[in-house]
Symmetry: C2
Subunit: 272 residues, 2 copies
Amino acid sequence: MTRRELFEQIKKKQSYLCVGLDTDPAKIPEHLLKEEDPVFAFNKQIIDATKEYAVAYKPNTAFYEARGAQGWESLRKTLEYIPNDIFTIADAKRGDIGNTSALYARAFFEQMDFDSVTVAPYMGEDSVKPFLTFEGKWVILLAATSNPGSFDFQHLELGEAKRPLYEEVLRKSQEWGSEEQLMFVVGATRADLISKIRHAAPNSFFLVPGVGAQGGSLEEVSKYGMNDHCGLLVNSSRGIIYAGEGEDFAEKAHDAARVLQEEMKKYLGLYL
Amino acid sequence: MTRRELFEQIKKKQSYLCVGLDTDPAKIPEHLLKEEDPVFAFNKQIIDATKEYAVAYKPNTAFYEARGAQGWESLRKTLEYIPNDIFTIADAKRGDIGNTSALYARAFFEQMDFDSVTVAPYMGEDSVKPFLTFEGKWVILLAATSNPGSFDFQHLELGEAKRPLYEEVLRKSQEWGSEEQLMFVVGATRADLISKIRHAAPNSFFLVPGVGAQGGSLEEVSKYGMNDHCGLLVNSSRGIIYAGEGEDFAEKAHDAARVLQEEMKKYLGLYL
């Protein structure tokens, strides 16, 4: 999917909502456990219930890998079930030496057909570039994450310029790929940070994981993070997929997604 | 496996060789392609041929993931086939927010039964700690890798102390886990670097991936990297598993592993 197509979807749905499909078998409503593949059955209903509001779906691969080959199969079926005009993100946080990263790229872009994959920057250019060679596919590079440990290394200041590591990642990686193929993971916990990061990468899309269960204000993210292509995909996982616990979980997910979409519609009017 | 048990194996076999099971279906000898699972059939013969010299096996998960659920199954069977007294490393380079890292840990330590998994440090403490809660299991944290991109971020100098990022990773992570549960990935390309890193983590085991196809001298690594528990696992992948291309590939792998083991035996005598 191109940047223009993604932006078209955002305008059409008046939403920049990404739904995180972090499906934990232990949290699936009981009535689905008799299904052949309860995880897929759950995801299917979540997708049906939220697709009018979501412009992206993001399964975190850990939730599937934890179930081995069987989980991998649930992931494949889930991906196939997502409508083609919705952006798909394999939240895999991969990264290895060049020829090995190329294999991961094949796993997510060819073996499966994700639009994008999240990649860790620690190993540098040759670990990221193989993901950038696929036409129409995207890398979403970890820049500033929203977890407590993000302060251990990402915010340390480098050299005489005292530039934090996450900013060096933003700066250097934009030489490797354009805003048509490279997005960034940007934690949503602080307005001043979002503002600084938007300055360092004015044209890029940001995947913002920190709204909802991880804390972070949608208003501040939108106010300080939006650019002229919207430039934001704001993720909610638990707040949507576990909004309900019973047989009406999909309805509850639908309602939770609509609440976020209505707020997003307002900010698109105000800040785009 | 404990540090003491690993050291016992090293002394018994007079070897600190790790064999990288980076099995590429395109490079498997033709006569194995008729097998039901050619990757497993290949690995089985490699393991049989090298187990007298290897103290560790390290499958890089990318090679298995690239084949989806089927590849995951080959990985599981390979792991089960490795003798129990040989240390096993899932070279997965994972790392995510706390509760998600916990799922990856379960995938590699419970769903499968690896002794260790390689982890990326960029997301900090809560991304690493969940892997450290399993009795007898190890984290092998990326510190200084040997690929060209390692210079993009790992060697940048931080703050007034001008300490490189990889050293900050070594320093900080040793507060999270002891040398009985935490090893480091240390690229083997420069003697002065190995020496500096050994100084920063005197008691830890280092997984050294850069000998053989990736360049790097076994003698220098051994001379500057060895400690009183040996403290080294030196990996060779392509140099062993693709030493031959025909029906005698396992024999060729055996010979290549023996050449390395004989050199290691010499260094154990000189430097331990």
